[in-house]
């Protein structure tokens, strides 16, 4: 099979038109261009690589099945990222949030200060591993709030949980991440 040269400046619009025609060359070009970035999104929500690949596979199937619904209002990458996130959220067990104690949120967030220098020295791979080690509820809320930029109200609506639960999960996620990073720092010293 002959591949499209994705290094050449093929515009997203052209790729979308090709995908709408169900042309495999263009579908593969979309995959090759964005799979790496979307894999990171998937890895952030999954517990391990195998689960992340399953999520990414389902997401790409949905992307190609529904590419006619992309209205071109934002970037293609942004639209695809949302599909990956939604696909990941589909498989979430709501029990992940039910065991959390509601109301632990503190008004002053304990990570508001400047971060120690060791934080910025962490590699991307290490940061991904830290996220993956979080409990399901913490991981999902942290991803949605801190990285995707959803508000607690949106997270509450998307996950079907209370806003207060979302806040408490975020606080706990941050605390756990901080403590894990400090552990890494201790080991490094």
């Amino acid at each position: 099979m002959r591949y499209l040269n994705i290094a050449s400046p093929v515009e997203d619009n052209e790729l979308i038109q090709g995908c709408l025609r169900e042309d495999r060359k263009y579908q593969e070009a979309v995959f090759r261009r964005y799979a790496g970035k979307l894999m990171v999104v998937s890895l952030r929500y999954a517990r391990h690589r195998m689960e992340a690949e399953d999520i990414l596979q389902d997401a790409f199937i949905r992307i190609f099945d529904h590419i006619d619904q992309f209205q071109g209002k934002g970037s293609l990458e942004g639209w695809m990222r949302r599909i990956v996130v939604n696909t990941a959220l589909k498989n979430i067990d709501k029990k992940s949030f039910s065991n959390e104690i509601i109301g632990l949120e503190t008004a002053g967030e304990d990570t508001s200060g400047a971060l120690p220098s060791v934080f910025s020295q962490l590699h991307e791979e290490e940061l991904l591993q830290l996220i993956q080690q979080l409990p399901d509820g913490y991981r999902i809320v942290f991803n949605m709030y801190a990285i995707e930029g959803y508000s607690h109200a949106e997270i509450s609506a998307l996950l079907g949980i209370q806003e207060s639960t979302s806040r408490s999960q975020l606080v706990k996620a941050r605390k756990m991440l901080q403590s894990q990073i400090f552990e890494i720092q201790k080991l490094a010293v």
Binding site: K37, L115, S120, L127, H152
Partner: protein, 400 residues
């Protein structure tokens, strides 16, 4: 915008442009999954629906003989009598058909005239001498039937019985027979069959890259055994032509020792493939004394619904393809296929409307049974012997 902590910003900044390549086979899996979704599958109840439609149709057509009294009364009310067989008064006696004075043609060299002066209804016929006895018998039967009923000629069931006794060569005289004689008498039969078959499969690499792999798989995966159970409904004519359909369940099993390069001892795998098939078979049978022999040719609609087992991949790792397990490797098609069937049927009467059947056959799946994206193309041949019973339903029926 929500206020972000430095920790959030750190994660966002570092991960937003980070890329991790997925595994090499992910694109292939996506293509395969999409291809599967786009091909429509028959619902699991389709075979039963088709079979029940066949059975209902056959039962409807054979109801004349399942409920003979009702059929007779309906026939006597509705069917007008043919004029030349209606009993006439003495003033309306037709002139007998004259015997030709010219020399008969070659095909009528051995003919003899049949002329019965005792009955005004009889006509003189030119009939080959070989058939004379049979026609005389027929005439006698017709005579008896006519005598039995002064006002009406005969009923459908009597004609059917009579027709069943006629040799097919007499169709040349059908113009002289009552109208119902022109209709073909059909018989409905049901077969219950069991078979054990040998299955031979061939594996061919789609690209030369996998030639070694296909050769080693061909050497490793030897003969398979299949067991089948079939129920076939059929209709057939007196001349021996028939059409059969029904449902068949087959389970192909195979025990093979996987010689995996990194394993010191081979691993035994029990693989199985299950299908439900709908045959559509045309048959032609001929009687040889009590024995009936025939040829069956047709097609099978195959619905593969379950595969279980494992084999090894080109890289030497074990691949599980059990279709019911999530994440199993989709090496086989799990949908409709077709196969060609040919067999020789032998049947012998063993009781009232019951026959013993033996039918050696061969069958081949036309398309490959492996999935489109799989590196090998696998085709299979079946050869076996059906053994079972054939039961005739009712006595026979006419198609409308």
């Amino acid at each position: 915008m929500n206020p972000k902590s430095p920790l959030d910003e750190l994660f966002r900044r570092k991960l937003s442009h980070y890329e991790v390549p997925p595994s090499d086979d992910l694109w292939g899996n996506i293509q395969l999954a999409r291809a599967k979704k786009t091909i429509p599958r028959l619902p699991f109840w389709a075979p039963w629906l088709i079979t029940s439609v066949c059975l209902t149709t056959l039962t409807y057509f054979s109801q004349d003989f399942l409920f003979p009294k009702q059929a007779e009364s309906t026939a006597s009310k509705e069917k007008p009598l043919p004029s030349h067989f209606t009993p006439k008064t003495s003033t309306e006696i037709p002139t007998p058909i004259p015997i030709p004075s010219v020399k008969p043609r070659d095909q009528f060299k051995n003919v003899a005239p049949v002329f019965d002066n005792s009955s005004p209804q009889k006509a003189a016929l030119m009939i080959p001498a070989n058939d004379l006895e049979q026609v005389t018998n027929t005439t006698n039967i017709t005579k008896q039937t006519m005598q039995a009923s002064e006002s009406t000629f005969t009923s459908f069931s009597n004609i059917a019985t009579l027709d069943a006794t006629l040799p097919h060569e007499l169709s040349m005289y059908s113009e002289l027979l009552p109208v119902p004689f022109k209709k073909k008498l059909w018989f409905a039969k049901i077969d219950f069959l069991l078979s054990q078959d040998f299955v031979h499969s061939t594996l061919r690499a789609k690209t030369p890259l996998f030639d070694t792999y296909s050769t080693s798989r061909n050497n490793q995966e030897d003969l398979k055994i299949s067991n089948s159970f079939a129920v076939r409904m059929g209709i057939s004519t007196l001349k021996g032509w028939g059409l059969r359909s029904g449902i068949q369940y087959s389970r192909m099993s195979q025990t093979l020792t996987l010689t995996i390069p990194d394993a010191s001892n081979g691993r035994t795998s029990k693989n199985s493939f299950e299908t439900i098939d709908i045959p559509l078979i045309l048959t032609k049978e001929q009687s040889f004394g009590k024995l009936r022999a025939g040829i069956s040719l047709g097609t099978y609609l195959n619905m593969a619904f379950n595969q279980k087992g494992s084999f090894y991949s080109p890289s030497g790792t074990l691949i599980e393809f059990t279709s019911s397990k999530p994440g199993a490797y989709p090496a086989f098609k799990n949908r409709l296929g077709a196969s060609l069937y040919s067999g020789i049927s032998l049947s012998f009467p063993i009781g009232n409307s019951l026959e013993f059947i033996a039918e050696p056959y061969v069958r081949t799946r036309i398309p490959s049974i492996s999935a489109e994206d799989y590196v090998l193309e696998q085709k299979i041949w079946y050869g076996g012997l059906f053994i079972g019973f054939r039961k005739q339903i009712g006595k026979g029926f006419y198609l409308p």
